[in-house]
């Protein structure tokens, strides 16, 4: 096991990793930008090193400074969290050349699954269904027209280097395709530095269902069942749950097996997520792989009883998972609400600012993962996630009730948060009856 690791991240996920390390007896080195100086969670690390000014590009994304911090901090490995450098294969490669363990997949596996287009090709090879679409990148507008005719409208143009729900355009028909193509390529170039576009058939009212996978360096790859993340707004997840309600058992089984097949084909180990969309006929299609621990990992932790972050650290240290697929049993129902510093009354505009008072809910089956404390100022430079509220109960109905109770108990004063939106969703009949797809929240908000 490592003596000491560096956490190349901030906020709630940094705290999450610090907690896992403290339980494993591993010392921690935290990094922080000047905007995060003085954040209370840093006190839980054994050392904290400033790596730059507020802007992420000048601090958390500075590979040279992160590696220097790892060197002066005397660590054996780095946990990249999610976002930032977590899916940067160059960073993983630099760690390897500096003989610093990277707590995640190999750079090669990361690249195989990270490029959306190559991941699709890998999926096809592994017999994993993909959304009907282009065979690789679409080189020109004429090609786009040809592919779209084959695939059938409406189509979705996607940036191969995109992620986090960004870099996508829908074209409902051939007339709309030309401008969609031009805009999508330009956006892709501007946002991701890579203009590559591929095309998929646009699945109407899909459900977003993802499979948590976990592998070790000794050839074992397992799944930890699924999470349903259909409750999204503008492609940003708001609420996640497990199991996916109304998913037929056979579909669930096939999806989990497909995810493991894909991971094996990619030579993947550590934690990762294979994302699918499920159409109204319960057909499932591979979308992409997230080669990192995800925000919503606690949902899977609650239903399976497995600490995913500790597992990642153990795997990176060379330990065997020591589990078979039969050991992974899902029990009960878990729901997570992402509490963001955004104002639902004003189009979700971000509300950075000082939290005057915070009271965390508790009770049976309630978990609140948050780095925020009273007096903590949410900085404007990073994502707006203040905390994650997770509940676990024997049934979905009880989980919804507990989540409502816990949301009402949660007090965050001084900033606006998305709590009112969560309460609105949880009170909604369609949500209760699990008639939710990825368009649900926007339709609900539109009234």
């Amino acid at each position: 096991m490592f003596n000491r690791i560096l956490i190349a991240n901030r906020g709630e996920i940094a705290l999450r990793v610090i907690r896992a390390c403290r339980e494993l007896g591993v010392e921690t080195v935290a990094i922080f930008s000047e905007a995060d100086r003085g954040a209370p969670y840093l006190e839980l690390a054994d050392e904290a090193i400033c790596v730059g000014p507020a802007r992420a590009a000048d601090s958390y994304l500075r590979i040279d400074r992160v590696i220097s911090a790892a060197e002066i901090g005397n660590v054996q490995a780095i946990h990249p969290g999610y976002g930032f450098l977590s899916e940067n294969s160059h960073f993983a490669e630099v760690c390897r050349s500096c003989d610093i363990g990277f707590i995640g997949p190999t750079p090669e596996a990361m690249e195989r699954v990270g490029d959306k287009n190559s991941a699709r090709a890998l999926a096809r090879e592994a017999g994993v269904p993909t959304v009907p679409g282009s065979d690789g990148l679409v080189a020109s507008e004429q090609d786009a027209v040809r592919v779209a005719r084959d695939v059938g409208y409406p189509v979705l143009l996607k940036a191969t280097a995109g992620g986090g729900g960004k870099g996508m355009r829908v074209a409902a028909n051939e007339l709309a395709l030309a401008s969609a193509w031009q805009q999508a390529s330009a956006e892709a170039q501007a946002a991701f530095g890579n203009p590559g576009i591929y095309i998929e058939r646009y699945v109407e009212r899909p459900r977003h269902v993802e499979i948590q996978i976990l592998g070790d360096k000794h050839g074992t790859i397992l799944h930890l069942w699924e999470r349903d993340c259909s409750t999204q707004r503008r492609h940003q997840k708001l609420i996640e749950e497990s199991p996916s309600p109304r998913l037929p058992a056979e579909t669930r089984r096939k999806m989990c097996e497909a995810a493991v097949r894909l991971a094996k084909a990619a030579g993947y180990y550590s934690a990762g997520t294979v994302e699918f969309i499920v159409d109204q006929q319960d057909n499932f299609y591979f979308i992409e792989v997230n080669a990192r621990i995800q925000v919503e990992h606690p949902v899977s932790e609650m239903v399976t009883g497995i600490d995913l972050v500790k597992a990642q650290i153990r795997v990176a240290a060379g330990e065997k998972l020591g589990l078979t697929q039969d050991d992974i049993v899902a029990r009960g129902h878990a729901i997570e609400c992402r509490i963001n510093a955004e104002d639902p009354a004003h189009n979700f505009r971000p509300c950075p600012g000082r939290i005057e008072r915070i009271i965390a809910p508790g009770g049976f089956g309630v978990r609140f993962d948050s780095h925020a404390t009273a007096g903590y100022t949410v900085p404007p430079h990073y994502d707006s996630l203040v905390g994650k509220l997770i509940v676990h109960q024997p049934t979905r109905q009880e989980a919804i009730r507990t989540m409502i109770r816990a949301l009402k108990e949660l007090r965050i004063e001084g900033i606006k948060t998305t709590v009112p939106l969560h309460l609105e969703v949880l009170a909604n009949t369609a949500f209760h009856e699990a008639q939710v797809d990825t368009t649900f929240v926007e339709r609900m908000l539109a009234g």
């Binding site: 054994d46 400074r65 220097s68």
Partner: protein
């Protein structure tokens, strides 16, 4: 127990911890160490730990196990050259070379004042300011973080 160096004086607490551990190991009751502009005096069993990073600065902290070291208040008008990177501080270009600057030296903005080594690259750090060197705030070979004060300069001198 935990030690987030909120003030940025990363090195001091680590050093104090090591000194205290050594004292325990050898059952010493008091040590008094001076080196360049640093002066540490620790009494075991008592409550008093004094450390001064530069002449004129006031003593601050309680035993290192409790709170982080309080940064000595900057004298009015003094400038501080801060580290632009994360790495290891060296006062000279080699172990046998003379230091780039000493207390009392007059320097200009182009003057190399120290090296911060990061990932095996030895980066020469220019002063960026003019004045007289008042204090070297970091020990040779000590780790430094981004923004850490390295050298205090009196611009009026």
């Amino acid at each position: 127990m935990s030690a987030s160096e909120k003030s940025g004086d990363l090195f001091a607490v680590k050093k104090l911890r090591r000194l205290i551990a050594l004292m325990k190991k050898h059952d010493l009751s008091e040590i008094d160490i001076k080196e360049a502009d640093h002066h540490v005096r620790i009494k075991r069993g008592g409550e008093f730990v004094a450390t001064t990073a530069a002449p004129g600065a006031h003593a601050a902290p309680r035993p290192a196990a409790a709170d982080p070291v309080r940064q000595p208040a900057a004298d009015a008008g003094m400038l501080v050259i801060k580290s632009p990177m994360v790495g290891t501080f060296y006062k000279a270009s080699g172990p046998d070379s003379s230091p780039f600057v000493k207390v009392g030296d007059r320097i200009g903005p182009e003057k190399t004042v120290c090296i911060v080594e990061a990932m095996k690259v030895f980066n020469e750090i220019p002063a960026g300011v003019s004045g007289q060197v008042v204090a070297i705030l970091v020990e040779n070979g000590a780790p430094v973080e981004f923004g850490q004060p390295l050298i205090k300069v009196d611009p009026g001198a």
